[in-house]
Amino acid sequence: MWTITHDDVTAIALGAGILGTGGGGNPYLGQLRMQELLRQGYSVQVMNLEDLPDDALVCEIGWMGAPTVGVEKLPRGNESEAVIAALEQYVGRKFDAIACSEIGGSNSIAPLEAGAQTGKPVIDADAMGRAFPEMQMSTLFIGGVSCNPSAMVDAKGNCIVFDHLEDSFKLEQYARPLCVQMGCTALLAIGAMSGAEVKRTSVRDTLKLAKQVGQAVLDARNTKASFSEAVLNITGGVELFTGKLVDVQRRTTAGFARGEMIIEGLGAHAGGFIHIAFQNENLVAWRGDRHTRQDVMACVPDLICLLESDTGEPITTEQLRYGLRVNVLAIPCTDKFRTPEALKVVGPAAFGYPDVVYSPLHKTPGQGIE
């Protein structure tokens, strides 16, 4: 167990922003909210995964919505209490701990806020080891954990409880249009899981990982060291490219911010171009020229992360704009996403790129995302 401090939140938000691979919502706003709670005297404990009792009752907490909406329609503040209370009422039992659905982006902070407001510990693990746009893209659900029952709430307190769903695809399918109805921002409490299930299927130690990655960037900033190297030393992976954003095309469809960007190379990459497709998160990076894509450099489920070249700040897809200078990193994902069953759910084909073949980035055992 460790108690979250103001500085932990700063480091976690920064690291989670990088692991968010462009999505997961703006971690800065989550950081502000969480630090505001700490200032008001709230506190929250983080529990190591192995300390979670097998018979504990656990739910995941996470926001659903489009990041472009998240920076504009800010939360009301009592959403986590409301959604947890609703699910507890339905289950007839209190939750013992809160799990993180997604370490990437602001969903790294959402469980901490919920923990602070409800007094429940937060487990140091998540269901992605990154950010992903859809609910079924989860090591828990791929590992056979049930998403029943789940609850979602909007800023007005409207609450919906889901149960008897066939699988997590159905949760995604039904929750998404409701989320759009709720204004593209809704908070979900998912599942009534046992501690044993969570231990078996989660990606462990990812709050710690986010904190380390964030701290590494903060340290690199102080010592003028390379941000990319500092991050890659912890996560493994490679720097794909450095350059300047020359085109961003985007559209919000069915609750997702989809689009594509083109980055023109600078320095060692001068003359080169890469294209990156995103759906909230960065999905596929291709080498190419100004107009056409050529070979794939990296793709989901591995992480494609954009860092602002001068500061090492993660760039979320809603911040993309002409002229940004970025370093593009590719980071190996959790092994739990590299199985044939998992790739059906989180591989390039699942995002509408059937022709892209996933070729796993080299991974050093014991390093980076579990």
Partner: protein, 513 residues
């Protein structure tokens, strides 16, 4: 011919330019009322160059006055904000990430009211006229007449902000109202912050712009009068009265563009040493490197497009405290000519150190002759170290970079700086800022909704770019100089036909007469 003016915290500089040629320049202390400082410097300039007021075809003015007001928390009006968006947004109320002292300086009163839009244009909740009027009445009763209004998703639908402004005006007849959608982009907190800062500068803006006008008219200069904005383009004076916040960071942009113009360098670090502060920026291909993530001004997070500048408290008027040795950040500012030792005052400043060291020669040298040599040397080394640290922080690669020194305070710097591969002090360096204002560009913006079902995106973008270019040309730009500097697309999914708001900004150099 045209005149570029830079109103700094310490000095007001003016330069007369004929095409690319600097005809003459003058420098005079900034005065408390601002306008007499401008009058003084222009009179000196006209005298010196023997130019007639009628030969002046345009006046371009850059001022850090509004930025400084926020940074120093001076001359700010007490300001309230009405945010329209309940029940959403209350987790992060207005001012949530503001420094406490700045918030206190402008009262920090806020009201959250119902309303706002969802991303698709549906109302979050109905706008309640009575609730807004009630908030306005409370603001009036607090004696506040500067009001910012923000609303969730106002960049895609400004109606509620506009309507709320009418209601507020009906309760507070002479209210100065700043609407967030006119100032910022998507991102509620940052846009709202910009609107609040604009509102708290409203009274100052009217006063300052009027004093600028009076100064010009008093000298018989009736040429068009522009003020430079943060992206290096020019705004009309009337526009600045309403949107003073858009002048933020125009100073560094001007000095960097002036430094590029004077040195002929396109890639370098620019150190602009003024009277109170120094700004370090980076020239990349002749343009200031832009800060690409949120920029804090006076500690407040905004999402303007801004040059990436590091400011620190070293200038020609900085206080030198001994035992222990400390330079700045306090400065005697525009009172240097009465308060510095060499000018008969009682304050030891960095300029006194430079005179004592024989690096500069002004004022009464004998008044600093008593200064301990070791103190003088230690002070100089401390100042140079301050510059070196900042240059090092701003450069992106290890190793030396060319450094261009500009501004009145460059007398403080010796022949060599660690980390600089070359040290440039171009001719007229002390008025680089005013030169940057004089060569400032004109801008043209297109901000329109296109239906991407009716017209392909490529064509819509091209059309917007062409229109923006045409606007810049109509403003008098040289055709070859026009370039597109900003392209932004906001999908408006609630409108049929794949509607997208496209905003394109083009800039060009003003054709010289």
């Amino acid at each position: 011919m045209r005149i570029g003016i830079d109103v700094g915290g310490t000095n007001t500089d003016a330069v007369l330019m004929d095409g690319r040629k600097v005809v003459g320049w003058a420098k005079s202390p900034t005065t408390k009322d601002v306008s007499s400082g401008i009058t003084n410097v222009l009179r000196a300039l006209l005298d010196q160059t023997q130019a007639s007021p009628a030969s002046v075809s345009a006046v371009m003015l850059g001022t850090t006055h509004f930025t400084n007001a926020v940074v120093e928390r001076k001359s700010l009006s007490r300001t309230a904000i009405i945010r329209i968006g309940l029940p959403a947004t209350s987790a992060l109320p207005p001012f949530v990430d503001w420094p406490e002292d700045l918030r206190a300086a402008i009262s920090g009163e806020y009201h959250l009211v119902h309303g706002g839009y969802e991303f698709d244009g549906r109302p979050i909740s109905a706008l309640d006229d009575a609730e807004i009027k009630e908030a306005a009445a409370k603001i009036r009763d607090s004696g506040i007449d500067c009001i910012a209004i923000s609303s969730v998703f106002s960049p895609v639908n400004p109606d509620q902000e506009t309507h709320a402004a009418e209601l507020v005006a009906s309760v507070i007849p002479n209210a100065k109202i700043s609407l967030s959608h006119e100032i910022g982009r998507i991102g509620l907190l940052e846009r709202e912050n910009a609107a609040i800062m604009n509102a708290c500068l409203s009274h100052l803006a009217v006063r300052i712009v009027q004093s600028f006008r009076d100064a010009l008219v008093g000298l018989g200069i009736n040429a068009p009068f522009f003020i430079s904005q943060n992206d290096g383009t020019l705004m009309s004076a009337d526009f600045v009265e309403k949107y003073p916040v858009l002048t933020f960071a125009s100073g560094p942009t001007n000095s960097m563009r002036g430094a590029a113009f004077l040195s002929g360098l396109k890639d370098a670090v620019v150190v602009d040493i003024g009277g109170t502060t120094s700004d370090v920026g980076v020239l990349s291909q002749g343009f200031p490197r832009e800060a690409s993530v949120a920029v804090r001004i006076g500690g407040v997070r905004t999402n303007f497009r801004m040059p990436d500048v590091l400011s620190f408290g070293l200038g020609g008027g900085s206080h030198v405290k001994t035992d222990p040795l400390q330079i700045g950040p306090q400065s005697v500012g525009y009172e240097i000519t009465s308060r510095a030792l060499v000018f008969g005052g009682n304050d030891l400043t960095t300029s006194d150190i430079a005179v004592a060291a024989g690096m500069a020669d002004f004022g009464d040298k004998s008044r600093v002759a008593h200064l301990d040599k070791a103190l003088v040397q230690a002070s100089l080394e401390r100042m140079w170290e301050m510059v070196e640290i900042s240059v090092d922080r701003m450069k992106t690669a290890a190793g030396g970079v060319p450094v261009i020194l500009v501004g009145g305070g460059i007398i403080l710097i010796g022949d060599k700086l660690n980390g600089a591969s070359e040290l440039h002090r171009p001719e007229h360096a002390s008025v680089a800022n005013a030169i940057g204002a004089a060569i400032a560009q004109v801008g043209g913006e297109v901000d329109r909704v296109f239906s991407l079902d009716a017209i392909p995106r490529d064509k819509a973008l091209q059309q917007a770019k062409d229109e923006a270019t045409q606007r810049v040309l109509r403003e008098g730009a040289i055709p070859d100089s026009v370039e597109i500097v900003d392209v932004e697309e906001i999908p408006l999914s609630y409108l049929p036909g794949n509607a997208t708001r496209i905003r394109v900004k083009a800039v060009g150099s003003l054709a010289v007469e």
